[in-house]
Symmetry: C2
Subunit: 143 residues, 2 copies
DNA sequence: CTTAATCTCTATAGAAATTATAGACAAATA
DNA sequence: TATTTGTCTATAATTTCTATAGAGATTAAG
């Protein structure tokens, strides 16, 4: 499952992408327009900033803005930042590999193989879909 | 993430599939051989029985056995029984559709579309992989 | 008909993750 | 110096996941 936190992060990023030309955007604007709990959103934005996606300015006239081009930010990378591995079990993750707690022998684990396929299919989709791709969807609808 | 419960369920089913010709199998055998907490496994087996995958006999000489042919039981169906929808967000589930709590407008939700792709890719894999396919993996290795 | 073996049922507890909030603090502008 | 805004630390509330305890029901065997 995609967590609410990750979904909020994507919503916030898409909002910032749509308002890129307007300079700094207030947390409260994003929270209100995207209906995200304000304090929860703060934590998410800090996280995205730490990961180099956003910049911020404090104080009066402050706010947040996207640092990266929406065409460079994949959905997969955002989900990994917030939720961790895309893989359904840790032993098939590329970037966060870990032995499964309950695993007896990884080499003969039947479940592993099918889950690896799921991971790869998921990563193929999410790592090749960018914020700009998502934004286009509604731009297209508006035309 | 695949839950431990679902993983245990698959392990138990595979164990039962491999021992199909031996008649009734004890819970404690499965628990011990697959290193699954005994009491937790009991609950899982009841669940699988309720879902028509297993039959059981109580009392001395009792135990569990597969009812279905391993070639008829898909990995996807087992995961759905235990963990629920394969879809990463409820609004793209086929069998368990539900509006997302935090969704403002499903028709213009950008996230929905990419998550639908993920759901479809996942379902394609898991619904076309059966217990018998998994079993073959190690049979093949043993040859 | 008694005993031992086995699955079943109900309840609950413990642990971890997720979601959310409160409030003091720091920085910038006017 | 007051106001606006992001930052930091702590914690609380909720939910989900994992696991256990123990009494009950059923069957086979002697």
């Amino acid at each position: 499952m995609l967590s609410k936190k990750a979904k909020y992060a994507l919503k916030a990023l898409l909002y910032l992408a749509r308002h890129q030309q307007e300079g700094l955007i207030l947390i409260s604007d994003i929270a209100e327009k995207e209906r995200i709990p304000r304090k929860f959103l703060e934590a998410i934005l800090v996280d995205l900033k730490t990961n180099g996606l956003l910049q911020s300015v404090r104080g009066k006239k402050g706010g947040y803005a996207l640092v990266k081009n929406p065409a460079e930010v994949s959905v997969g990378s955002v989900i990994r930042m917030i939720d961790g591995p895309l893989a359904p079990i840790p032993c098939v993750s590329h970037l966060y590999y870990r032995k499964c707690d309950e695993c007896i022998d990884e080499a003969t684990c039947e479940i592993r193989i099918v889950m690896k396929k799921v991971r790869d299919a998921t990563a193929d989709i999410l790592d090749s879909t960018f914020l700009s791709d998502l934004d286009k969807i509604n731009t297209f609808l508006e035309e």
